[in-house]
Symmetry: C2
């Protein structure tokens, strides 16, 4: 069904740019998805340190068969700076996880990490719409997730971060957008129907979990961003107490088709005239 | 037997850099050869115009998982300028078709096109050793082939080119090296046991062939560099007259294993201390 994945001279490339890079799952999964879409295209890893990002970007621009990029840590903000146009969510976050080359040679960016997080929860039975949501972690991933939770229709959002300044900056930026109430929260999840973790807290042996699972509300859903294991200690603890939970590993599967559509400019991401300044 | 050719996050890359690039055979053939050697590595196309070569090179240097490059037209001379070290044949020609990244981050170059041409002839029964050889075409490919014919042991070499200045420059450079007699020749192949074509003359319908096949010596071998068809009009005409002949398409198969060994630094191309200034 899939085309042979061996490259040939006409293969189009979609590098995934990050540091580290050896652990990422996109090259195999995205390459198979391009093949399933009938495209002669591969996603290949590009191991680029932060200090080398600008040179790498100039190199991608110089390669006429590079049609798009997947951007991972630590380049999500630096990538945005290269985009002539970007989605509204990407402009709000000033970050990208995807960039595609437009016919005029400029880069168009989007940030689907938050959508992927919400879609992963949905695939495990977690629906944020109408729920009071708690988010732990207000960094780059947390910011994207916060925006996606609001766009998914939470009734309110509380944000906790050990860095109060970072927490307050995100609360303020989201409050300025309008929408549901956004407030500062704590590590106590009692009273929240949807609980999101956007930190790596609790991954090291003996470290405390990012929130107090003993105080999760009955029926609360736990969504975790951590991809470095199939199920983080937080997810395992929540499931042990009978809560449904989604993992970071679920995210890639949940939005793979959406990423393919963005990179190829098809489906919901087809190029339109009114995208130009979007 | 081969590993699955789907890339993953740990895949090492060996781009082939050229313009045009869609026609090249290396990505599939080299990728399968890397797999057969047990390596998680792919050869991918890099479509880079001459004006963009420097930016592309800076980009490859910025990608830590790019371990080597295959260089094709029009970059063979520009690539040489990036090499801190190179083989003696590459330094004589001031051109590369392969570059590998050394442990200290510098590029080491080689030029195997001439060896490939001679190996392709050998695979079709053509042995230049001891023969009077005629070469038509004194450009980049012709220069590499001239050097390889001399190193393969021809008894003499005559060189023909419609550009007399280019012909005389190559004759002079080879004569200054010492070795067998090198002289200016013509399009008349009579008296030569090994006849090499390094031009694309005769490829367009109605164009004259690069040499007068009616005057080929009995038993003369015809080796042609042209890769854009499986057998060029010259090769077809020579075979029709009973001559053995090799094609440009034979070259890749003949030196694929040698290219893999150079790029991986194995076998005859293993890194040694005395390579440093070689």
């Amino acid at each position: 069904m899939d085309r042979d994945l061996a490259p040939d001279g006409a293969t189009r490339l979609f590098p995934i740019v990050g540091d580290p890079i050896a652990h990422v799952r996109s090259p195999a999964g995205m390459s198979r998805a391009f093949a399933a879409a009938g495209r002669n295209a591969l996603c290949v890893p590009a191991h680029v340190a932060a200090a080398d990002f600008e040179a790498a970007m100039a190199g991608f621009a110089a390669q006429a068969n590079v049609d798009g990029l997947l951007i991972t840590m630590p380049h999500k903000f630096a990538g945005f700076a290269h985009c002539a146009t970007a989605s509204a969510r990407s402009r709000f976050l000033r970050a990208v996880n995807l960039m595609r080359r437009e016919p005029d040679g400029t880069w168009h960016g989007d940030m689907l990490d938050g959508l992927g997080f919400v879609a992963a929860a949905g695939a495990r039975g977690g629906e944020p719409r109408g729920e009071r949501a708690l988010l732990v972690g207000a960094g780059g991933a947390g910011s994207a997730i916060a925006l996606a939770l609001i766009e998914a229709g939470v009734s309110s959002l509380a944000i906790h971060d050990v860095d109060a300044g970072r927490r307050d900056a995100l609360v303020g930026a989201l409050a300025a957008r309008g929408g549901p109430p956004v407030t500062a929260g704590s590590a106590d999840p009692s009273g929240f129907g949807f609980v999101a973790n956007a930190t790596s807290a609790g991954m090291a042996p003996g470290d405390p979990l990012p929130l107090d699972v003993s105080r999760l509300a009955l029926g609360a859903f736990v969504a975790c961003v951590e991809t470095s294991s199939d199920a983080s200690p937080l997810v395992l603890a929540a499931r042990a107490r009978g809560h449904r939970a989604s993992t970071g590993a679920d995210m890639f599967v949940a939005i793979r088709d959406m990423m393919v559509a963005f990179l190829l400019g098809t489906g919901a991401f087809a190029r339109r005239g009114d995208d130009a300044g979007a």
